[in-house]
C-alpha cells in the first residue's frame, strides 16, 4: 500500500468511526484485528440461541449469530444482536450498598456478607431466597444446596413460578415427569403450527423465523393463531381465531369432543399408550384419578361446536376445522404455547388439555408432530425446573415431601440424615405475602434475598405483595443485581453482580438443551458472581459455627479442591477464578442428581465442546455422548425398551402410559362487569426483555420502543373521546395508572379489551394485575382481569 492510499484509508476509517460512535460511545473503536471470539448462549429468552461474542481489550466489541448452533443456525433477533450492549449501561451497580435513611451508602463486601450472615444466623427459618430462571445452573444449584441442604428451611422459589409453573404441572400430570418430549426440530417439519395464545414473532423471534421462513423455500406451513388480540404473528397466520379470554379451555375440549364424535381420534395410539384422567371430586389435584373412556366421552358430550362457539366466540365452523386437522393422521401438527396458557388461573388444566388433544389424535412423538411448551427465561428449564429451585422441589425432579428423595439428596450431599426439611417452603406468592405481613401477624419471612430478578416490577398485585414490607421495620430486603431497578431502590442491601460473559455460566433452554459458556471479560468495579455471593455467605455462617454449613464429616458445604487435592478457598473472590472452575465443580456434583428422572447430563467437558446438548445425554459404547431429540420414542430415547414403540416410563399410573386429561371449562375469577367493563391483558414486546432493566439501557432497543402504552380498539377509544397519544387512566380493583393510548400500533385488541406491556419502569402495570393463581401450579394470571378506562382531562 502506498502512502497516499494509507492516508486515504486512515481518513476513511476515522470518518466511519466517527459516524459509528455518534449514538453511543465515547472511545475510538478498536481495530478489527485480534478480536477473540467465543460462544455463549444469548442472555435473554428461553429460545436458547447461541451467539459468538467478539472480545478485545477486555471488552465485548461485537456479536454475531452462531452458525454452528442448531437452535438458531446463525440467526438472532434484535435483542440478541445487541446483547453485548447490555453490559455497558452507565449506571451499572459496582459496589455493595446499604440503605441509610433515604440513601444507599457504599459498604465493603466483607461487611455486606457479614450483615447477611448475622441476620440468617439470628433466624434461619425466617430467611428466604427469591431467584429466577436467569440464574445459571451452578448459581441456582448453589442457592438450592445452601437453603435446603444448609438451612433446612425450603424457602426458595424462582420468578419462574410466575412464568412456567403451569407447564411443569401439566407435564407431570400427563407424562409423570417434567419438560417437553419433543424439540425445536418440529419447527422444521410441521405442516401445521397451532399457536395457543402465543406471539412468537415478537417473543421467540428466531423460532418464528425457523418455521415461517420455510415458506420462502416453497414449503407449505399452515399457521393457526388462537389468540385474544391481533399481534405481529397474526399477520403471517392462515387463520386467526379470536377467542374470549379463558375459553381456550372450551376450545381444547371442543376439539376432543369432535375427535370422539367423528371417530377420528387415533384409536391404536390411545389404546396402546394412554389412560384417561380427571379431578374426580372437582377439586384441583396434580395427579387426579383415573376415568374410563366412556366417562371421558360423556364428560366431553356438552362441548359441541355450537356450545364452544357460544362460550368462546370462535365459530363452530372453525372448531370443526381444527378438529379435522387433528383428525388427519398424515399431517404433522405442532402446538406452541407460552405465557398465554401458563399465566392462567387454570393453567395446569389448559396445559393438560393441549397434551390431551395431541395424545388423543396421535399427533405425538414424530418430527413435526407434537406439543412444545416454550419458556420465557434462558434457564427456566435448566435451573428452576431441573435443579429444582422451587419451594417444593429437590434437584433432578425430586420433591421435599418424599422421604426417599430427601434421603437420596442427603446421601449425594453427604449430609446427616434428617437435614432436609420435609415441609415445602413458601411458593412465590406466599413468600412475598409472608414478607409483606408483619411478623406479629404471622408473616414468618423477615429476611429475603433476591437474585437475578426484579419482583417490585414483576410481581402481580404489587401493592399487596411487595410494598407493605417496605414499611415494616424488621423486614430486610437484600437484592443482587446489575443495574438499579424498582427492587434495588427499595432494598436494604444492594449487592452488585457480574452478568452473562462476565462470569462462567450454564443455561438450559426450552428444548432440554444444556449450554455452557466461559467468562470472557471482567465485571465492572466490585461486581461479583451470584454463586460466589451465596458461597461467601455460607462460608461466613460456617465460620460463625452454624452447623448446617457442614456436611456430616464437618466439611464446608461448598468444599472445593484443586487437581492436587488441596482445598481452594473459593469464598475469597481472589481465588474464585484460578485453580478451580467453580461452575465445573458445582455442575459435576449436580449432574449426579440427573439420573433418577432420566434427565442424564453429560460431563462439563462435553458441554464445553458443544453448542448445547439435549438431555438425556447418554454415553454410548464407544465412549461418545449422545443427546436425545424425542423422549419416550423408540429409537430416539435410549430409555425406551425395544419393541415398545412409545414408552412413558415415568407414567403416574405405573403402566408406561400417558394420561389424557379431562378438565372442564371454568369461568375466570374476575371478568368484566358493569363497573369494570374491559379485559386487561399484559405482556411483552419484541425489543424489551421482561422488566427492561437491561434492554431499556440499549439505545437501539430503547429508541425503537421507548415507553409503555395502552392498546385499545378504535371504537372504544372513540366512545371514550380518546385519540392516539391521549392519556387514559386504567383502573382495576387493585390500582390506577395513567398511560398514553396507541391505536393501530404493535397489536390490535378487540373491542372491550386492553393490552399494556410491562417492561416500562414508569408504568408499573403489575400494580393493577391479579394475584389469583392456578390452584395447582400457584402461577398467577397476568393475562386477564377486569378494568375500566377513562380519558384524562388535561388541565
Amino acid at each position: 500500500m502506498d502512502r497516499r492510499e494509507f492516508v486515504k484509508l486512515t481518513a476513511m476509517a476515522a470518518a466511519t468511526a466517527a459516524a459509528a460512535r455518534l449514538p453511543v460511545a465515547d472511545a475510538a473503536p478498536p481495530a478489527s484485528d485480534g478480536v477473540r471470539w467465543d460462544k455463549a448462549p444469548c442472555r435473554f429468552c428461553g429460545t436458547g440461541c447461541h451467539v459468538q461474542v467478539g472480545v478485545k481489550g477486555g471488552r465485548v466489541v461485537s456479536i454475531a449469530g452462531d452458525r454452528q448452533a442448531p437452535v438458531n443456525n446463525g440467526l438472532l433477533c434484535v435483542k440478541g444482536y445487541h446483547v453485548g450492549l447490555a453490559l455497558y449501561g452507565r449506571d451499572r451497580l459496582t459496589r455493595p450498598m446499604r440503605k441509610q435513611g433515604d440513601k444507599h451508602v457504599p459498604i465493603s463486601w466483607d461487611s455486606a456478607v457479614d450483615l447477611i450472615a448475622q441476620r440468617i444466623k439470628k433466624n434461619p427459618s425466617g430467611f428466604a431466597m427469591y431467584g429466577s430462571g436467569q440464574w445459571t445452573i451452578p448459581e441456582g444449584y448453589a442457592a438450592q444446596k445452601f437453603i435446603k441442604g444448609g438451612l433446612s428451611n425450603n424457602h426458595i422459589d424462582p420468578n419462574a413460578r410466575l412464568c412456567m409453573a403451569s407447564a411443569v404441572t401439566g407435564f407431570i400430570g400427563t407424562y409423570g415427569v417434567d419438560e417437553p418430549a419433543s424439540c425445536y426440530d418440529d419447527l422444521d417439519a410441521a405442516d401445521v403450527i397451532i399457536l395457543w395464545g402465543n406471539n412468537p414473532a415478537e417473543m421467540h423471534p428466531v423460532l418464528f423465523s425457523r418455521f415461517i421462513d420455510r415458506r420462502s423455500r416453497g414449503e407449505r406451513v399452515k399457521l393457526i393463531d388462537l389468540g385474544t388480540r391481533r399481534t405481529r404473528t397474526t399477520a403471517f397466520a392462515d387463520h386467526y381465531l379470536c377467542f374470549k379470554p379463558q375459553t381456550d379451555l372450551a376450545i381444547a375440549n371442543g376439539i376432543a369432543h369432535l375427535l370422539l364424535r367423528d371417530g377420528t381420534y387415533d384409536k391404536a395410539f390411545v389404546e396402546g399408550h394412554c389412560n384417561f384422567r380427571h379431578e374426580a371430586d372437582g377439586k384441583p389435584h396434580l395427579f387426579g384419578a383415573p376415568m374410563t373412556f366412556d366417562a371421558y366421552r360423556k364428560a366431553l358430550d356438552k362441548y359441541t361446536p355450537e356450545y364452544v362457539e357460544k362460550l368462546s366466540g370462535v365459530s363452530a365452523a372453525d372448531i370443526v376445522m381444527l378438529a379435522k386437522l387433528f383428525g388427519q393422521r398424515d399431517l404433522r401438527i405442532t402446538s406452541l404455547w407460552c405465557m398465554g396458557v401458563n399465566q392462567h388461573t387454570r393453567g395446569t388444566a389448559l396445559n393438560r388439555l393441549i397434551h390431551a388433544v395431541h395424545l388423543l389424535s396421535g399427533h405425538f412423538g414424530k418430527k413435526g408432530d407434537g406439543p412444545q411448551s416454550l419458556t420465557g427465561q434462558p434457564s427456566a428449564c435448566g435451573t428452576a425446573r431441573e435443579v429444582g429451585t422451587l419451594a417444593h422441589a429437590l434437584p433432578g425432579g425430586r420433591i421435599v415431601a418424599n422421604p426417599g428423595h430427601r434421603k437420596q439428596c442427603e446421601e449425594l450431599w453427604n449430609l446427616p440424615e434428617g437435614r432436609i426439611n420435609g415441609k415445602p417452603g413458601h411458593h412465590t406468592v406466599a413468600m412475598w405475602e409472608a414478607f409483606s405481613t408483619p411478623t406479629s401477624g404471622g408473616g414468618d419471612i423477615d429476611t429475603l434475598w433476591v437474585q437475578v430478578t426484579n419482583p417490585a416490577h414483576s410481581l402481580p398485585n404489587a401493592g399487596k405483595l411487595f410494598k407493605p414490607s417496605r414499611e415494616l421495620a424488621d423486614k430486610f430486603l437484600i437484592v443482587s443485581d446489575v443495574y438499579p431497578t424498582e427492587t434495588t431502590r427499595e432494598a436494604d442491601l444492594i449487592l452488585p453482580s457480574a452478568m452473562w460473559v462476565e462470569k462462567n455460566g450454564m443455561f438450559g433452554n426450552s428444548e432440554r438443551r444444556t449450554q455452557q459458556w466461559f467468562k470472557m471479560v471482567d465485571p465492572p468495579g466490585e461486581a461479583r458472581d451470584d454463586a460466589w455471593q451465596t458461597i461467601a455467605v455460607a462460608r461466613r455462617l460456617y465460620d460463625l459455627g452454624v452447623e448446617g454449613m457442614r456436611d456430616k464429616d464437618g466439611k464446608f458445604l461448598f468444599h472445593m479442591q484443586d487437581e492436587h487435592g488441596h482445598e481452594v478457598p473459593v469464598w475469597d473472590f481472589r481465588r474464585y477464578y484460578g485453580s478451580v472452575n467453580v461452575d465445573e465443580q458445582l455442575f459435576e456434583e449436580y449432574r449426579k442428581f440427573s439420573r433418577l428422572k432420566h434427565k442424564d447430563l453429560a460431563p462439563y467437558a462435553e458441554y464445553v465442546k458443544a453448542r448445547g446438548l439435549r438431555w438425556p445425554v447418554v454415553q454410548r459404547g464407544d465412549g461418545t455422548w449422545r443427546e436425545t431429540s424425542y423422549r419416550f420414542v423408540e429409537g430416539e430415547d435410549p430409555y425406551v425398551a425395544k419393541g415398545k414403540g412409545f414408552q412413558f416410563y415415568h407414567s403416574t399410573s405405573k403402566d408406561d402410559r400417558a394420561q389424557i386429561w379431562f378438565n372442564p371449562y371454568e369461568p375466570p375469577p374476575e371478568a368484566p362487569d358493569a363497573e369494570y367493563p374491559f379485559w386487561l391483558c399484559t405482556g411483552r414486546v419484541l425489543e424489551h426483555w421482561h422488566t427492561g432493566t437491561m434492554t431499556m439501557r440499549v439505545p437501539p432497543l430503547r429508541r425503537a420502543m421507548p415507553g409503555a402504552y395502552v392498546e385499545m380498539h378504535r371504537l372504544d377509544a372513540r366512545k371514550l373521546g380518546l385519540e392516539n397519544g391521549d392519556m387514559a387512566a386504567i383502573e382495576t380493583r387493585r390500582g390506577r395508572l395513567e398511560l398514553p393510548v396507541w391505536i393501530g400500533g404493535r397489536g390490535a385488541a378487540p373491542e372491550g379489551s386492553l393490552f399494556v406491556p410491562f417492561f416500562d419502569e414508569h408504568v408499573l402495570i403489575n400494580e393493577l394485575t391479579l394475584h389469583e393463581h392456578c390452584p395447582i401450579s400457584k402461577e398467577p394470571d397476568y393475562k386477564k382481569c377486569a378494568a375500566r378506562v377513562m380519558a384524562v382531562r388535561r388541565a
Binding site: 460511545a25 478480536v35 449501561g89 452507565r90 416453497g218 425489543e687 404493535r746
Partner: protein
Amino acid sequence: MHEQQARTELLRGGAIAAVVLVAVVLTWVVTGRGGHGGEDTASARLPAPAAQQAPTYSELREHSRIGSRQEEAFLRLSVAESAEAKVVRQEAAAVATRARRAALRAFPGAPPRVPHPVDQAGFPSCPACHDQGLRLGTRSASAMSHQGMSSCLQCHVVAHSPLPFDAAEGSPPLDNGFVGVAAAGLGSRAWAGAPPSVPHPTHMRERCLSCHGQVLSGIGTTHPSRRSCLQCHAPTAAWDQQPLARIEDSP
C-alpha cells in the same frame, strides 16, 4: 423571507434536475457508445432470463399482492443494475456511504435500523422496495443482503420511536458505554492487481450486489457483469465461522 426561500429552493431544484439530466445523458453516452466492448459487455447488457434467476422475494411472496405491473418495474431495475457501466470509484462517496451505513448500526455486523416508519403490526412490506433495492433521486433503498427471511422486523427495528406520544426520558439512563469494533476497511491483496479478499463476514451477506451493486454510491463493484463474486474474492474462514477455522486465523 418565505418567498425568497421558496425561490432559492426552486432554483436549487432546477439546478439538481439539470445535473441529473446531464448525468443521465452522459451515462447513456458512456454505456452506449464508449462501452467496454468484448463479450463481457454483450452478455451483461441482457439480464439473465427470468427462468434462470434465483426466485426473488417478490416472486416468492409478493406475486399475488403486488401484481405483474410492479414486478415488471422491479425487473427493469435489475436490468438497470446489471447494465455494464464504466464505474469509477469515488472515495468521497464511499466515505459518505460508509458513514451513513455505520450510523444505522450499533457495530459493524449489527442489523441496520430502519430510518423510516414501518407498519408495526402488518405483514412486512419491506421487500417491495428492499428486495432489489431502488434509487430515486438522492434517496436510495438498499437491497437486502440476505435471502429467504420473511420476519424482517425481528432484527430491523425502527431508528425513531413509533409511538404517537413522547415517552418518559431520563430513567433509566441511556448513555451506553459499548464501543463496537471498527469496520475492517478494505480487503487485503496478495499482490498489486490481485483480487482483494472480502473484508467482512459473508454470513447474511450472500447477495454481494446489495451493497456492491449500483444502489449505494462509492462502494459498487467496478465490474458489475461478474456475478460469482466469491470465485475471486476470498472470504475469511474464521469470520464465517467455518467449523475447522481457528481463532488465530482471523485477520
